[in-house]
C-alpha cells in the first residue's frame, strides 16, 4: 500500500522556517518537504510546533524567517485564502465548517455551482455533493444542517471538501480524533485516492499505529526544532517516541513516556466522589464514575464520547436531566458550579483560552478569582489575604511570570495552565476534574503538571483525568472509565490499565452497533 519511495516531485517545501511569539520561540530553523503522491507524517508532542508550522504553510501566519517554495517558485501567503487558491487545503482538528449550513453548502462554500442568471443551482449542488460523498463511501443526507451530524461524519465532510477542491496539497491535522475505526478505514480510503492522484498529504497525528499504517515519510519536531526526517519504515516505534520526548530510548522503555509514576493505588477506602446515572439529553446517558481519595480515574474515549460533558456535569457546569452526585457522602445539588465548588469539586476546563483564563487580568487576579468571596469581608476584598494566597501558590506551582501583576495573556501556555490550577487549589478541593491538563503546553511544563497531579493524588485528592494522549491516561490513571457516545462501555482496573487494553476497549466500542 505504500508508494514507491523513488524520487517524487517536491510540491511544497519549507526551508529554515522560524517563528516567534511573545515569550516563546515556536519554530526554529525547520525544514519540511512534501512530495506528490506521498503521505508525510508530522509528529511531535504538544508544544513542539506542529500547529504553528501548519499555520505557516497555510497562510495563517507569516514566518519570521525562512522560505516557502510551492511548485518550484518561492511564495508568500498573506492570508489563508491565498494558500487555498494556490491549492493547499487544510482539515483542522476542530471542525472548521459552518454548522448552520447544510452539508452540501459546506462542501461547496465559495465554489457553489451556478445556473441561470448566475444564481446558485441547488439541485446541481446537492447532486454533486451526494456523488462526491458516495464516491468516498459516505451515505449522508446532504441537505441536513451540518451540526445535526455526529462529529465523526462532520470531520469526514471536512476531509471530502479538502479533497474535492483539486488541491495539490492536503493537510490533515489530527483527522481521526473524532472518528470511529470504521470511519478511519474510510478516511484511509480517501487518502489512498489522494495518493493515487499525486496529491501531497501531510498527516499530523500522535496515533502511532495510524502513522505506521498509512505514511511514507516522517518528520519529528521537538521544542520547535527539527529532530528527524526520513522514511517511516526506517524508524522503529520506540525510537520515534524517544525522539518526540527527547529522552533516551532505554529511559523511555524503563520509565514510560510520561512523568506519571505509574504506581497503582489499591485503596479500599470510602469513595470521595460517587456520580451515578448522569443523564443529559443528547450528551450523556447514565454515566457512573466513582473516585476514591488518592485515586486517579481516567476517562477514556474518542472525541465526542462525552468525557468533557461528564466532567462538566460533575462540576455542576452542565445541567442534568437526572443523576446524582455525592461528595464525601453528601448528596450535591447538580447544575450549579458554585454548589459543587463549595463541596470541594473543581474543574480545569478543556479550552483554557476560551473558558479558563482572563487574559487581560493579572496573574494575581486570575488566581484569586474563584476564592474572592472567601477573601473578602463585607464585600471588600482583603489585600493581605490575597497577597498570602498568591505568594503561596506561585511558589508551589513554580509559576514563571515577571511578577504577580503580569498580564496572564502574555504567559506561556504552561504557566497559564498553572495559574488555572492555582485558582482551583485555592478552593481547597477534595476532587479535581482535569480536562486535557497538558494540552498545548511545552514539554517541561507538561512534566511539572504531571508530577503535580501525582503529588495531589498522593495527598489524598481524588482526580478525574481526561487526556487525548493515551500515554498519559495509561500511565497516570489507576482505573479507566471508557465512554462512547455518552455511555459507559467498560471499565478497566488494575492490570488492565494498559495501552493495548484501552485500544481494544475503544475499538470494540466502535464495532458494537
Amino acid at each position: 500500500m505504500k508508494a514507491n519511495p523513488a524520487a517524487n516531485a517536491a510540491v511544497l517545501t519549507a526551508t529554515a522556517i522560524g517563528k516567534r511569539f511573545p515569550g516563546v520561540v515556536a519554530l526554529s530553523d525547520v525544514d519540511l518537504t512534501l512530495a506528490a503522491g506521498e503521505v508525510h507524517a508530522l509528529v511531535g508532542e504538544n508544544g513542539a510546533g506542529k500547529s504553528t508550522l501548519i499555520k505557516v504553510l497555510t497562510g495563517v501566519y507569516t514566518p519570521d524567517s525562512g522560505t516557502l517554495t510551492y511548485r518550484d517558485s518561492v511564495v508568500s501567503f498573506a492570508r489563508p485564502s491565498d494558500a487555498q487558491q494556490a491549492g493547499i487545503s487544510t482539515v483542522y482538528q476542530e471542525v472548521n465548517l459552518v454548522p448552520l449550513q447544510s452539508v452540501a453548502s459546506n462542501l461547496f462554500l465559495g465554489r457553489e455551482p451556478r445556473g441561470r442568471f448566475g444564481l446558485i443551482d441547488f439541485r446541481a449542488m446537492n447532486t454533486a455533493a451526494r456523488e462526491l460523498l458516495d464516491s468516498y463511501g459516505l451515505r449522508v443526507d446532504v441537505t441536513r444542517p451540518l451540526r445535526t451530524l455526529g462529529m465523526g461524519v462532520q470531520q469526514m465532510v471536512a476531509v471530502a471538501r479538502a479533497a474535492a477542491t483539486s488541491a495539490r496539497v492536503v493537510i490533515l491535522d489530527e483527522p481521526t480524533s473524532s472518528l470511529e475505526p470504521r470511519e478511519v478505514d474510510t478516511l484511509f480510503g480517501i487518502i489512498e485516492r489522494l495518493r493515487a492522484d499525486r496529491v501531497a498529504v501531510l498527516y499530523v497525528s500522535h496515533r502511532l499505529d495510524e502513522l505506521y499504517r498509512i505514511c511514507d515519510r516522517v518528520t519529528v519536531l521537538r521544542d520547535g526544532r527539527l529532530v528527524h526526517s526520513g522514511p517511516m519504515a526506517d524508524l522503529p516505534r520506540l525510537r520515534l517516541v524517544a525522539m518526540m520526548l527527547g529522552r533516551d530510548l532505554e529511559e523511555v522503555r524503563r520509565e514510560g513516556a510520561t512523568k506519571f509514576d505509574g504506581e497503582r493505588t489499591a485503596e479500599d477506602t470510602e469513595p470521595v466522589l460517587v456520580a451515578t446515572g448522569l443523564t443529559s439529553k443528547h450528551r450523556l446517558d447514565g454515566v457512573d464514575v466513582t473516585v476514591r481519595p488518592g485515586e486517579i480515574v481516567g476517562l477514556g474515549g474518542l472525541l465526542g464520547a462525552g468525557r468533557s460533558e461528564t466532567a462538566m456535569a460533575i462540576a455542576g457546569a452542565l445541567p442534568l436531566d437526572s443523576g446524582a452526585v455525592t461528595v464525601g457522602g453528601k448528596r450535591l445539588r447538580t447544575g450549579s458550579v458554585a454548589v459543587a465548588m463549595r463541596a470541594g469539586v473543581v474543574l480545569l476546563p478543556e479550552d483554557r483560552k476560551a473558558d479558563g483564563i482572563l487574559p487581560d487580568l493579572s496573574v494575581r487576579e486570575n488566581i484569586v478569582l474563584a476564592a474572592l468571596p472567601r477573601l473578602s469581608r463585607a464585600g471588600v476584598v482583603s489585600r493581605r489575604r490575597q497577597d498570602a494566597i498568591v505568594a503561596t501558590f506561585m511558589k508551589r506551582l513554580r509559576i514563571k511570570a515577571s511578577s504577580q501583576y503580569q498580564r496572564v495573556g502574555d504567559l506561556s501556555g504552561g504557566n497559564q495552565q498553572k495559574v488555572l490550577l492555582a485558582r482551583l487549589l485555592c478552593m481547597q478541593p477534595k476532587v479535581l476534574l482535569l480536562d486535557e491538563p497538558t494540552r498545548g503546553i511545552d514539554v517541561g511544563a507538561k512534566a511539572e503538571v504531571q508530577s503535580l497531579v501525582d503529588e495531589l493524588a498522593a495527598e489524598g485528592l481524588g482526580v478525574v483525568l481526561i487526556s487525548s494522549e493515551f500515554d498519559e491516561v495509561v500511565e497516570g490513571a489507576d482505573s479507566i472509565v471508557v465512554l462512547r457516545e455518552g455511555r459507559v462501555v467498560t471499565e478497566l482496573h488494575g492490570a488492565d490499565v494498559n495501552e493495548a487494553a484501552l485500544l481494544d476497549a475503544l475499538a470494540e466500542a466502535g464495532e458494537r452497533e
Partner: protein
Amino acid sequence: MTAVATQPEEQSVASGRLTGRERLAALAQRRGSIVVLALVVLIASFSFDSFFTVGNAQNVAIQSSFLAIVALGMTFVIISGGIDLSVGSVYALGGVLAAYGIQWGSLVGLLLPLVVCGAIGLLNGMLVAYGRLAPFIVTLATLLGARGLLLAITDEGSTTRLMARDDWLTRLGQGTFLGLGLPVWITLVLFAIGVLVLQRTRFGHATLAIGGSREAATLMGLPAARNTMIVYLTSGLLAGLAGALAAAYSASGVTIVGEGLELDAIAAVVIGGTLLTGGAGTVGGTLAGVLLLRVIQNVINQIGTLSSYYQSVVSGAFLAVVVAVQAYLSRAYLRGGRR
C-alpha cells in the same frame, strides 16, 4: 472499503439530531413573525372599522416602505455578524441631499444621495473590515459624523429645501401604481432581489457563513473582508435611497427625520427572525417585522382614546416579548451536538 451510513431516524445520544420539537422551533423562529402579523391584522380588522380599509392599507404600506428599505440593508449587516447604527443619520442625509441636488435635475437629485451615502457605507465597511474596529462603535461614530454633515449643508438644520413637484424624482416618491405608492413597489422589488441574493447567490451564502463563524469562513477561503465591505456599502446605499424617496414623497428635505430609525430597523430585523448574533436570517421576515411595527402604531392610532405615547410603550413591550420568545426558541433550536 466500508461505507458509513447515517440513518435519519437514528437517535444516538451524543449526535444531536433534530427532534420534531427542535424542527418546530426552527420554523417558528423563521416564519413566526408572519404568523403574528397575520394574527394582528386579523384581530385589528375585526376590532376597528377603519382599519381594514383600502385607504388605511395604502397608508400603512407607504409609511412602512421607507423603513423597510433601510431594514433590508440592516438585515444583511446583521446576518454578517455586524450592526449599522448610522442608517438613521444616513437616511436623513439622503433626504437632504435629494432636496439639494434636485435643483440640477432629478438625476442629480437621485444620484447625489446614493453616491454620498454609499461612500459613508463604504467608510463603515473599510473601518470594520480592514481597520478591524467594532461595528457598533464605528457606525456610532458615523451616526454622529453623518448628522454633522447634514447640519453643515443645511445651515445647521435651519434650511429645508422643497422639491419641485414636476420633477420625475418627486413623482417617483409621490406617484402610485395600482393604488399603491411607487415607493411601495420599489420596496417589493428590492426585497425580492434581497431574497434571491441571500438564498441563491454565492455572496449571500458567504454572508451567512461569515456571520456564522468568521474564523471558519476565513479558513475556508471566503473573502470575508470584501464581503463585509459590500454589506456595509449596501446598507449605506439603501438608507440613502430610502431617505431620498421619503424626501420625494413629502417633497421636501426635512432635516430632523431619521433619529432613532436605526433602532426601528434593528427591531424590525430581530422581530422578523434574524439572529442578532448573525449566521442565520430571513429577508422576508424583516418585511413582516417592519409591517408589524407599523401596524401596531396604526392600531394604537385607531384606538384614538389612548394617547400616541402608548405607541412606544406597546412597541417596546412587544419587542421585549418577541425577543424573549426568540431567545427561548433559539436555545431549543441551536442546541446541537458538540463534542
